[in-house]
Symmetry: C2
Subunit: 271 residues, 2 copies
């Protein structure tokens, strides 16, 4: 059975995340529907590398797809057909033949970018940003950001962990960097894996520091001792979050982002 | 009765245009609902300067609003209350006291900007652009654009004109200019008034020229002799169109646009 690695981009606001759920609009359901038309006899399997929360956007959601031998569709033709049949809010960037033993969960890590708007509120960029016009403690935010890099227990930066029945909440963050595009600011986090809502919780914490409500030293406090009643902060809304890269061969430590992810792949020249 | 000029921006994709229609989501309906809460005794009137088609965006939709004397709300308080009560897809830019005789239809003209994406398809900019990756006849497009400037009969560039029972289809276009932002291209048209779908029809024509399907000389042909069976072109989709300015005091001939309208009011610095 041919196996492919698909890399997709999608506007998350229209979906309850990537992962298939009955009676919900999900990106996996869109892909499933397209593949069911191309292979009406069935026999398709899809495995996503990430779930993504409802409303989160993606530039590089990776999925391993196996398809039956018949009808025989060459990779180029398959890529073309899927691209044309997906709705405008989902794009297939690439489709690559992979060996049968390829495991999409064997990725080396992921990069997420979160966009804040510290300028005027924009209804046009509202779907892609969190409006934070009073990020006046920028140095403190950068200071706090450093605390997250490395191997830590991120229990204070997830929700519903017990319900998920996970083994442990230790993850490694390779890098956390800030991008200054003027009114739009990016926070990019590369790591080997992420707990449920982890990026949005970290961004929520950083914004509380940027607003002067929390001190940067509280980051280490939370990472060392877990959640604390005395240190409260909001989880950042899903609409500012983009899954920007899933790493297989590339080195996550060398990842850099150059334009706000809603402009990715476009060559835009502003005055 | 106090009278105000309101200038609003909105994401058109969520609305069936500005103008109130029963059982439809419209921007006027949103404003009406907010004002009904602020003035529960009624007595509010709203008059918009433009209708805008379903799906068209606006940076500067002007509306004249009269409100009753009671409850007494100072202009600042009113602006603040409306801003906070409108949904995220609509923003109130300004609220200005105007004399009772002010007529919102007495504007000197309007500027529309249409965005084309000649780069890679982007699901993130799809709501704001028309993807046209093969605009290879750029000089011909610019040449064709010149034909529209001045006073002309735009019957070939509207639809359903007879149904609208209008007096005449003559309008004046003050300027038609092209903006090159790299992959994103703008076509900005200032005029004293616009027929139903006129900007989208002109853009559809220009794109047919840019794609090499029509010759630029056909613009003059259509403006002189009206619609022709032999010269067919698509109306551009509404999602690329932005009403960018309504002119009262300013000079429409001096209007210039510097950033793609979905980035208006934001200060964005890209590498």
């Amino acid at each position: 059975m041919p196996k492919y690695l698909l890399r997709l981009a999608f506007v998350g606001s229209r979906y309850a995340g990537w992962q298939y759920q009955p009676d919900q609009a999900t990106v996996e359901a869109e892909l499933k529907q397209v593949l069911a038309k191309l292979y009406p006899e069935g026999g398709v399997t899809i495995q996503g590398a990430s779930r993504t929360d409802a409303g989160v956007h993606a530039l590089d959601l990776c999925a391993a797809v196996t398809v039956p031998e018949t009808p025989p569709i060459p990779p180029n033709g398959l890529q073309h057909a899927i691209t044309n049949m997906l709705p405008a809010s989902v794009t297939l960037h690439s489709l690559e033949v992979v060996p049968a033993e390829f495991n999409v969960h064997g990725n080396r890590g992921k990069a997420y970018c979160y966009l804040l708007n510290r300028g005027k509120f924009s209804p046009f960029l509202h779907p892609y940003t969190w409006h934070q016009p009073e990020l006046n403690h920028w140095d403190a935010m950068e200071e706090a950001g450093k605390a997250f890099v490395g191997e830590h227990d991120f229990l204070a930066f997830t929700v519903g962990f017990e319900r998920q029945n996970r083994e442990n909440s230790v993850r490694t963050i390779y890098s956390l960097s800030f991008q200054d595009w003027g009114d739009i600011v990016g926070i990019t986090i590369c790591g080997n894996g992420f707990l449920y809502r982890m990026v949005r919780r970290i961004v929520g914490f950083l914004v509380a520091v940027g607003n002067g409500r929390l001190s940067p030293v509280m980051a280490r406090e939370l990472l060392l001792h877990g959640p604390k009643q005395s240190i409260q902060f909001n989880t950042a809304p899903s609409r500012g979050l983009f899954l920007v890269r899933t790493f297989f061969e590339e080195d996550p430590e060398r990842f850099q982002i150059t334009t706000p992810p809603f402009m990715a792949d476009l060559n835009l020249e502003l005055g």
